[in-house]
C-alpha cells in the first residue's frame, strides 16, 4: 500500500503542532555510503602496512586514482577542501599583491580561507542565471592589487570556465577553480579538474566522494604539485607559511571506496532529481533548478527558486519544512560581503547577490533520501501552495517571521 498524504488542514503541519512527515531527519548532504567491504579492504592494507613500517601506500594510491579520474597529471590531497584551497591560494597568489577576486554568494568560509593565507577577499557580483562569478563580474574587480581570481562552480552547473580562463590569461592573473560541487562534470568533453592553474575539491561526507573528511588539488603543473606537497609536510615555500594538513590514511581509504562507487551513486542521484522534477512540475511558485546533460552532471544538489507566486517567504518555507524533519536549507542566506570580518576585505555594493540570497532553497538529497521520501516532500509542497494564504495568516498570528 502506498503512502497516503496525511495533512488535511493547516493545523496538521508540524510547524503548527501536527506530527512531522518524517520521524528521522532527511538531510541536504550527500552522505554516500560506499561498500563497507571495499573500504575495509583498503583500510586493512593500511593497518598492516603501518605496523610493518611500510609507507606511502593508500594516500599515494588515492592521489593516482583521483588524477586519473580528473584526467590531470597531478593530485595533492589535504585534510580538507578548506586547507587544500588555502594551500593552492598561498602557492598561486602573485607575490607582493594582496587581493583575491571571489563571489560573495558562496561557501560561508570562503573569505576566511583567503584571510588565513594573508590575502584580502575582493567580493564580486554573480550572474543571476549562473549564480556564480562570470567574466563581467570578475573583470569589474580586477585592479593593480589583484593576486588571484577564484572561479566557483555553482551547485547546479558550471562556472564560465572558458571565459574566466581567457580573462585570466589576458590579464596575467592566476586562476583557481573551486570545483567542490562539480566533481563529476565535464566541460567540452574534458572532466573538471584540469582547468585554471589548479582546481580544488572536497572529500567531506556531504560531497560526491565521501572520505569522512579531506580535500585535494588537481593541477597540470609539476612545480605547483611539488610545492603543495612541500607545504603539506610543513615546509615553508618562498617564505610563506606552510599549510601543514595531510589527509589521513583512514580518510583516504574511505575516499577510495567512494570513488569506486561514484558512477552508481550518480545514477541514484539522477533518479532522485527526476523524482523531484516529476513531483514539483505542477507547483507554480517553486522552480527546480535544472541540470544540463551537456555538463554530464553528478545531480548531487537539489535546489528550488522561490518565485513571486509562492505564498510563503523563503524563511517561512524553510522553517515549515524543518519542522517536518525535512532539513531544507536556505542557499547562502548571508552573503560574505555582509558579514563582519576580522581581516581586511573589499566589499563593493552587490545588489544582485543580495537579492539572490533571499531566493533559493536546497532540498533533501543524497543517500539518505529515497524517491518515496521525495514524493512526500513534493506532496507537502503542493499542499502548502494550495493552502498558502491560510498558512501565511497562521504564521502571522503565531508571530513567525
Amino acid at each position: 500500500m502506498g503512502w497516503v498524504f496525511m495533512k488535511k488542514t493547516i493545523g496538521d503541519l508540524a510547524v503548527f503542532g501536527g506530527d512531522p512527515v518524517f520521524d528521522k531527519i532527511r538531510p541536504v548532504s550527500n552522505l554516500a555510503r560506499p561498500d563497507i567491504e571495499v573500504f575495509l579492504s583498503f583500510l586493512k592494507k593500511s593497518f598492516y602496512m603501518a605496523s610493518s613500517g611500510d609507507s606511502d601506500g593508500i594516500v599515494t594510491l588515492l592521489e593516482k586514482k583521483l588524477a586519473s579520474f580528473h584526467e590531470v597529471p597531478y593530485c595533492v590531497t589535504f585534510n580538507s577542501g578548506f586547507w587544500a584551497l588555502a594551500a593552492a591560494m598561498s602557492s598561486l597568489a602573485k607575490p607582493g599583491l594582496t587581493e583575491v577576486v571571489m563571489p560573495s554568494l558562496t561557501y560561508r568560509r570562503m573569505a576566511d580561507i583567503a584571510g588565513w593565507v594573508g590575502l584580502k577577499p575582493h567580493f564580486c557580483e554573480v550572474d543571476p542565471l549562473r549564480l556564480t562569478n562570470t567574466v563581467s563580474c570578475v573583470a569589474a574587480c580586477i585592479n593593480e592589487q589583484t593576486a588571484l581570481v577564484l572561479g566557483v562552480h555553482p551547485v547546479n552547473g558550471l562556472a564560465d570556465i572558458d571565459g574566466l580562463t581567457a580573462l585570466a590569461l589576458e590579464r596575467g592573473i592566476p586562476l583557481i577553480f573551486d570545483s567542490v560541487e562539480s566533481v563529476y562534470e565535464v566541460n567540452r568533453n574534458c572532466r573538471i579538474g584540469s582547468f585554471g592553474e589548479a582546481e580544488v575539491f572536497s572529500l567531506g561526507a556531504s560531497k560526491l566522494i565521501n572520505g569522512f573528511e579531506g580535500g585535494y588539488v588537481t593541477t597540470a603543473s609539476p612545480e605547483l604539485a611539488e610545492e603543495l606537497r612541500a607545504q603539506r609536510s610543513g615546509m615553508k615555500v618562498r617564505g610563506r607559511p606552510a599549510v601543514k594538513a595531510p589527509i589521513s590514511e583512514v580518510h583516504a581509504a574511505m575516499a577510495l571506496a567512494s570513488l569506486q562507487d561514484i558512477d552508481a551513486q550518480v545514477l541514484k542521484n539522477r533518479n532522485r532529481y527526476l523524482c523531484y522534477q516529476e513531483g514539483l512540475k505542477d507547483i507554480k511558485g517553486l522552480r527546480l533548478l535544472e541540470f544540463s546533460v551537456n555538463d554530464r552532471p553528478g545531480y548531487k544538489n537539489i535546489m528550488v527558486e522561490v518565485l513571486l507566486g509562492w505564498p510563503l517567504s523563503r524563511e517561512q518555507t524553510v522553517q515549515m519544512l524543518n519542522a517536518e524533519k525535512i532539513l531544507a536549507r536556505s542557499y547562502y542566506p548571508q552573503p560574505l560581503h555582509t558579514r563582519d570580518m576580522g581581516y581586511p576585505s573589499v566589499m563593493p555594493p552587490l545588489p544582485i547577490t543580495e537579492k539572490l540570497a533571499n531566493d533559493f532553497i536546497l532540498l533533501p538529497c543524497g543517500e539518505q533520501v529515497s524517491c518515496g521520501d521525495i514524493e512526500k516532500i513534493c506532496e507537502l509542497l503542493v499542499f502548502v501552495e494550495r493552502e498558502g494564504l491560510q498558512i501565511c495568516r497562521q504564521f502571522q498570528m503565531k508571530g513567525h517571521v
Partner: protein, 239 residues
Amino acid sequence: MSGFHAFQQSESGMDSSWMAIESVFRGIFEREYYTETGPLVRSLEQRLRGATGFDHVVCIGSVWVAHLMLLDALDLQRLWIAGPVSVHLQSALAFFSKVRVVTEASSLGAVAGHAAVCNGALAQDNPTEVQWALASPATPASSWFTNELHLESSIRVLDTSDLPLQTSGGADVHLGALNRKQHFRDLDGAYLATNDIDLADRLRTMRSSSGVSRLLPVKKTVNGRMSEAQAGIALLSLA
C-alpha cells in the same frame, strides 16, 4: 595520565586490534554519521572531559589546526613558551607574524635569561609582560606555571601535542593530540580542553558550529571537524 594507554600493537595483538577497528567502522557505516555531529565524537568529548577534568572539550581533526584555532581565538600579541616548541606550534606560529614569541634564551642558543623572537630577531626580554604562557613540559607542567613565571594575568596553555597524554595541572587550556602513532599513520586529531565556556564556544564556532551553545563572533573560522573515524579510533585507545 592514568586514563590513557597506548593500544596494543604487538605482533600477537595485531589481529585482535584489527577486529576491534573493524567493529568500530561497521558501527559507523550502520549509523551513517561521518563527522562531528556523530555519537563517537560526542562520546570522545565526554570521555575527555572526565579524563582531563575540564568542563569543556572541543575535538578537532588536526593538531596543526588546533594550534591555529587557539592562537587565533585567544588573539594574543605576546607568547611565552616554556620548554621546546612543538613542531605543530612552530608551523602554526608562521601564520601569526605579529605575535612576539618569548622563550628561554638558552633554548635558542643564547646566554641565560629570557629572550624574544620577533620576525627571526632575538633580544633579551622581560617575561612578566606576556599574555599567554605555553608549556610543552619535559618536566611536569605545573612547575612551569607556578615556579618559572609570575603569570597571574596570563592564560596558561599546556601543549602536549608532541608528548604522550598527561595531566594538565595548573593550565587554563590543555591542547592534546589524539591518535599519535597508533594503528594508522597520520590519523591525526586533537582536543582543546578548558573551563572557559566563552572560549569553548568560540572554538566550536570556528571549527564548524556543531555543538555550539551560542554562536560567538570570531575573527576567522576553519574547517576543524573531527571525523567519526578519528573519534572511533581514539576511543579505542582510551582505557
